[in-house]
């Protein structure tokens, strides 16, 4: 049986001032899945993602990417993961081509591989007319495209998208949805998506986990979670304990 794309066991992350961001979180995502990771702001979604990708150091617990220990064999594990972070962590003076090309270099792609891949992604995300512009000169939507292209440059098997469509226009949202659906279904890439847009999650994801206060509070297939009365939104509000506040408010 193949190893799951992502297997997290009893993950705990405590920040220096004692703030528990993730508390005994366990999660398994099978290869080829399109997985929605939902939760309110500060629930622990981004921290979990940061622990998986090496931006944060887990306090305890284990993380495996396709069976590879993401802490002990971090270099091997990271080759398989592409991260599109929530915030723009980009050199603002570099241009779009440089940003994606450098990322390819970090992942060990040679010059010919990088050129082919960068050209392809620039065209796919309609960035070709903006190649020479510095990142800070780009609009919010174009910035988001560059960060997406950077995450995909090494064609990772596990793609982690942390609110990739936050603040972007309908056009890009549709380009991105089409692209993600293609690579998930045709190339069997595993995708972990966090989003506050429930309709986006409902449209794209097959499985869903809802996290609140650092713990998984609901997990299952989309049909199972969104199939009840009130759909995904109701399930989300109940799971996160926001329903009472919502009604009261």
């Amino acid at each position: 049986m193949p190893a799951p794309a992502l297997k997290i066991r009893n993950l705990r992350k405590v920040y220096r001032r004692g703030n528990v961001a993730v508390d005994d979180l366990s999660l398994t995502i099978e290869e080829g899945d399109f997985f929605g990771f939902l939760g309110p702001n500060g629930a622990g979604k981004s921290t979990t993602i940061h622990c998986v990708t090496g931006i944060a150091t887990p306090t305890s617990g284990s993380i495996e990417v396709f069976g590879i220990d993401a802490v002990k064999q971090y270099r091997e594990a990271r080759r398989l993961v592409g991260l599109c972070p929530q915030e723009f962590n980009v050199d603002p003076f570099a241009n779009a081509r440089q940003i994606v090309d450098w990322a390819g270099g970090y992942f060990g792609l040679n010059a010919a591989q990088r050129k082919s891949r960068v050209d392809y992604l620039m065209e796919r995300f309609e960035l070709t007319p903006h190649l020479k512009k510095s990142f800070r000169e780009l609009s919010g939507g174009l910035k988001r495209r560059v960060v997406l292209a950077r995450a995909l440059v090494h064609d990772p098997r596990l793609i982690i998208l942390d609110e990739p469509t936050a603040g972007v226009d309908v056009e890009l949202r549709r380009v991105l949805w089409r692209y993600l659906t293609d690579i998930n279904s045709q190339d069997r890439r595993t995708i972990l998506l966090t989003s506050h847009y429930l309709e986006e999650v409902e449209r794209l994801c097959r499985d869903i986990a809802i996290v609140a206060n650092g713990k998984i509070v609901r997990e299952g297939s989309k049909d199972e979670i969104a199939g009840g009365p009130g759909g995904l939104e109701q399930a989300y509000l109940v799971a996160t304990g926001a329903e009472g506040d919502h009604v009261a408010g």
Partner: protein
């Protein structure tokens, strides 16, 4: 998609990620070339003023030191001061800026070892410090003052001292939480210690009760080391400066290694 793709699994097994390492250097060089005035023109103008004022104007009224004109005596010190500054500023600003803007995360999520990250950063440091030093050497040539007694020793001192201050710059870049903190070492340590480290005088010119200040100052050994390589005048006991330099590289290198392994200033 599949035609243009390069699947991660088809990449070679992880030994040294040479392409990743080269990319770190390439990227830092491109970043450095975005600010040529700050990186090269400023230290060269500063060195030119030092050479002109201390070497030509003031130096014309000073008798020879160790059989050399004053300009020949001060040139190695001026060169070393600028090598130190270039090395420190390159690494400290690169690491701090990448933390401040958070694009250091691009490297953290990539299959790069700590060793590759540090070596990549230091390679650029040595490159910038060497270009700065060569420029000053050429200026000295214009004033008829550049001589090199030993090229191997000259290269040793430029490379090893820039490595030391590159490592120190990484530590400060990781520690700093503001631009104010980033600049503190230059103001309180680098400039004063290089000024009193024998750039413009020999230890024997100091009052005897103050000479200890030179002997406990590591900059004194660096400046004397390169002066020995350039004009053959070195006040320090043979081998002491080289030993101290190698020891500092080991200590600072070990410290940087530990900080990277802990993720200090880098990881959440």
């Amino acid at each position: 998609m599949s035609q243009a793709s390069t699947h991660a699994e088809t990449l070679p097994k992880m030994g040294v990620n040479w392409i990743g390492l080269y990319t770190i250097v390439r990227r830092e060089v491109q970043r450095m070339m975005r600010v040529p005035i700050q990186a090269f023109i400023a230290p060269w103008i500063s060195a030119l003023l030092f050479i002109f004022i201390f070497g030509s104007v003031v130096g014309g009224r000073i008798s020879t030191i160790g059989g050399h004109r004053y300009l020949e005596f001060v040139l190695p010190g001026i060169l070393m001061m600028n090598v130190i500054n270039a090395a420190f500023l390159q690494s400290s600003s690169a690491i701090y800026f990448s933390r401040f803007i958070r694009f250091v995360e691009e490297m953290l999520v990539a299959p790069l070892s700590y060793f590759e990250m540090v070596v990549g950063s230091l390679s650029t440091v040595v490159l910038r410090a060497s270009i700065t030093g060569i420029g000053i050497l050429l200026m000295g040539l214009g004033f008829g003052a550049s001589t090199i007694e030993s090229w191997p020793l000259f290269i040793f001192w430029v490379v090893s001292v820039s490595t030391i201050f590159g490592l120190a710059g990484i530590i400060i870049g990781l520690w700093s939480k503001s631009f104010e903190q980033l600049n503190m070492p230059v103001v309180f340590f680098l400039t004063p210690l290089s000024m009193i480290g024998g750039s413009f005088f020999t230890a024997s010119m100091l009052p005897s009760w103050l000479q200890w200040l030179a002997w406990i100052n590591p900059f004194f050994y660096f400046i004397n080391g390169i002066r020995g390589a350039m004009i053959g005048v070195d006040e320090t006991p043979p081998g002491l400066g080289i030993g101290l330099t190698l020891l500092l590289i080991l200590v600072l290198g070990g410290t940087v290694w530990r900080l990277y392994a802990r993720g200090y200033g880098l990881r959440e």
